[in-house]
Amino acid sequence: MTTPNEYINTVGKAFEKFEASLNGSKSTFLHELRKESLAAILKSGLPGPKHEEYRYTNFGKALEKSIAYEGIVAETAAASAPTPLDSFEGYKLYFVNGKLDASRSDLGDLSEKVTVTSLASAVKEQGDLKEYLGSIVKSWPDAFSHLNTAFAKEGVFIRVKKNTILDKPLYIIHSNDTSATEVLAHYRNLAIVEEGSQLKVIEANFSTGANTSYTNTVLEIFCKKNASVEWSKLQLENETALRIDNSLVYQERDSKCTINTITLSGQMVRNNLYIALDDENTEAHMYGLYLIDGKTHVDNHTSVDHRKPNSFSNELYKGIMDDQSHGVFNGKIFVRQDAQKTNAFQQNNNILLSPNAVINTKPQLEIWADDVKCSHGCTTGQLDNEQLFYLRARGISEDKARAMLLHAFAGDVIANISVGPVKEYLEQLITDKIEN
């Protein structure tokens, strides 16, 4: 179940170095949390190919590098390149190689009822941080989340105070530039959306350069009573990027949360999404698209945990795999004994475009309550020949017809992103990708 000891030794040693680099900040609760998490990894090890949750996605030797803390952390932020999102209206935070680029970030006229700050400042300024940071990870532990907790230093803290609606979306834009050296980032985001408040975030990841970038990130979202959150992840890195993205959501009564995960490139991407519906009348939506080619490997593991009655979850993940790309989907729905009257729906549809593409999908229902309506459906196939023929019979070329149908297939997912410019941007990206 665990990886060889040498990895583990590397983790231990890396942590010692990391600790030394922290200077004075070792006495905070955060550091206690780091040590706890380190102990947890040392005990469990990192998941190898025999680990059920990672059987299709083996970071293997790459892990060894990613956790060898020394040497690959760029201490200075390179100047960040322009991104297609720059002109979109909203608050912006730019990170380059895992470090905040304050010169380009723009929080403009952010309401005083909304706090957006660095994790480091939050540790000093937010008295109640201790109650939140790492608490969802504890109920859904994963070796990589622990690894992040042990090593993360950078990240964004967001708090939206009671009954506040953030007027514009917040963009968190990461660019990794590995042209000079490899890049490692363990960043950590935390959002607390208080009662009756609303938040929209677009988190985008770009990368350039021929060296490998390693990202292992954790996001925790607390959706308080009647709060509403939409968080979209745009994973657009290049073919040398390794990414493990852990997103964990905790929802209180009457809250609604939507997580969109769009992966169009990268070398190896693993998304772990966990949503705990811990009170009545909660609603969770999970939408995902993996439209990949080359040798890209994308693995989406989602879990929704219905703990209380009358909650609703809806999940739609779609994949298009070309060339030698490899898609993995695993969707778990848990309905606990107390969670009567749960409605949970899950759908996963896949299209393989090449004889060398692979999909492994495993929808999974675990139900302990009886008065529930749960279903999952999952298909793997190709474009509908009848539909293709219909389009061609109307004079559309086969290539164009194919592109239209693929676009429609992927469009189902993108349609759920409510931020107009982002949706349009993605639609263009998808069109370009399909037509090329």
């Binding site: 004889p355 492994n360 999908t361 309550a369 008065d371 279903s375 793997t380």
Partner: protein, 481 residues
């Protein structure tokens, strides 16, 4: 036989003669498992050397394995050194009439509608002359013999048809396949062997015969079915009557080999002792069943109705190697009280245009846990492969669990795989509607459950479908109220 071999054989024989001199005369092996026990079993069955070697290699492999832990069931650790691995069928003290049989058991027979004659056979009551099971069996056998069909006990097959057994044993479930199949390969007690020659359509359900002789197959049963080109056979294992076996661990192996255009239909009704209402005792049923659609156009269809056993762990599978071959899996698994079932299938699509269909209906009641676990794997070469899976769970009461673990792995872009699953409960409005027509709640549940499972029940041979329906109702007794 050359002289050297003769000497060798004598030497080896005398070897275990010394080791078990006194025991050879007795009916049982001592507790525990080691190479000598394997030799003892083989000797007891007067098996040829190759069979012994086969068993020993299985045993040696077993030693290197660990009991699997991935399934969604929990049970106390099994002490393999505390099990008697061989006991010849004992001449039990037969009850003289049905009046001496446990009334609870008899009540169940009544509910199932099993005839008196059959009840007598099942409980071991001395059978009267008119219905002599041996003569019935013989009649069947001669009829089958005319067609060249071989249908006999596994031991007999090893003696009478060694070339066939040697060729096919372990060809579908290799010795090193898994922990329990390795164990079975080492110590299997007996079982059935069935061979359908080329182009022959077996004219009867092999169930009837089997049923008569099913009683003393032991806890490590082994079945091998070989269907030659263009042949057909329908086979039924088990019966609806409750089985009160003393042996807690059952680790059977079933292998099916289907040549070109051959079709094998295998139906199982499993109603072993599920343990008490409080979850004490009950059988651990760890079975490896696999069929190989070896030839083009072959078809293997599994149908199972699982109501018994405390813990069930079984995945009747099809390896679809031949082009255009077909695999089917129809399953109803009922769990009540503290039963646990982790069952499903594997469909491995290797050949082109292979098709598979999975219909699984899980019903959980009481404090039981019912899991469907399945895999549909489409290999690179399996162009045009198609699978359709439907896994439905029905929950009765709020203390039980229903779980679905389907693995879908596709490596060919021209394959179509569809999977659907639902979980629901019996609706109160459905029960009320039945009540209003005068049907008591418990009967209403039985009616609805049978409706839920109908698609699978329809696959059973007619004579068993009726009993199996009643069996579902009996298994769920006391689960609603």
């Amino acid at each position: 036989m050359s002289k050297d071999n003769q000497i060798l054989e004598e030497l080896t024989k005398s070897d275990y003669k010394y080791g078990f001199h006194s025991d050879i005369e007795t009916e049982s092996a001592p507790k525990g498992l080691n190479e000598d026990i394997v030799r003892f079993i083989s000797a007891k069955k007067e098996e040829p050397e190759w069979m012994l070697e086969w068993r020993l290699s299985a045993y040696r492999h077993w030693l290197t394995l660990k009991e699997p832990t991935w399934q969604n069931v929990t049970f106390p650790e099994i002490n393999y050194q505390d099990i008697i691995f061989y006991a010849a069928p004992k001449q039990k003290i037969s009850p003289k009439s049905l009046d001496e049989v446990d009334p609870e058991l008899r009540a169940t027979f009544e509910k199932l509608g099993i005839s008196f004659d059959e009840q007598k056979r099942l409980t071991g009551v001395a059978v009267d002359a008119v219905l002599d099971s041996v003569s019935v069996a013989t009649t069947f056998k001669s009829k089958l013999g005319e067609l060249g069909i071989i249908f006999c006990s596994f031991s007999e097959a090893v003696r009478e048809h060694p070339e066939l057994v040697k060729k096919y044993i372990g060809s579908v479930v290799p010795v090193n396949d898994n922990y329990f199949s390795a164990l079975n390969s080492a110590v299997f007690s007996d079982g059935s062997f069935c061979y359908i020659p080329k182009g022959v359509r077996c004219p009867m359900e092999l169930s009837t015969y089997f049923r008569i002789n099913a009683m003393n197959t032991g806890q490590f049963e082994r079945t091998l079915i070989v269907a030659e080109e263009g042949s057909y056979v329908s086979y039924l294992e088990g019966c609806t009557a409750p089985m009160r076996d003393e042996n807690q661990l059952h680790a059977a192996v079933v292998e099916i080999f289907a040549a070109k255009d051959a079709e094998v239909k295998y139906s199982t009704v499993q109603n072993w002792y599920p343990g008490s209402k409080e979850g004490k005792g009950g059988i651990y049923n760890f079975v490896t069943k696999r069929g190989l659609c070896s030839g083009d156009g072959s078809k293997i269809s599994w149908t199972q109705v699982e109501t018994g056993s405390a813990v069930t762990w079984k995945y009747p599978s099809c390896i679809l190697k031949g082009d255009n071959s077909i695999g089917e899996f129809y399953s109803v698994a009922v769990t009540n009280n503290y039963q646990q079932a982790d069952t499903g299938t594997k469909m491995i699509h290797i050949g082109k245009n292979t098709r598979s269909r999975i219909v699984s209906k899980g019903i959980s009641a009481g404090k039981s846990q019912n899991s469907y676990r399945g895999q549909v794997k489409v290999m690179k070469r399996a162009e045009g492969a198609r699978n359709y899976s439907q896994c439905d769970s029905l929950l009765l009461g709020d203390k039980c669990g229903a779980h679905t673990f389907p693995y879908i792995d596709v490596e060919n872009p021209l394959a179509i795989v569809e999977h659907e699953a639902t979980t629901s409960k019996i609706g109160e409005d459905q029960i009320f509607y039945c009540n209003q027509r005068g049907i008591a709640t418990e009967d209403a549940v039985a009616l609805i459950v049978n409706g839920f499972a109908k698609e699978v029940m329809n696959q059973l041979p007619m004579e068993f479908a009726v009993e199996a329906q009643k069996l579902l109702a009996i298994s769920l007794e006391g689960s609603v109220g």
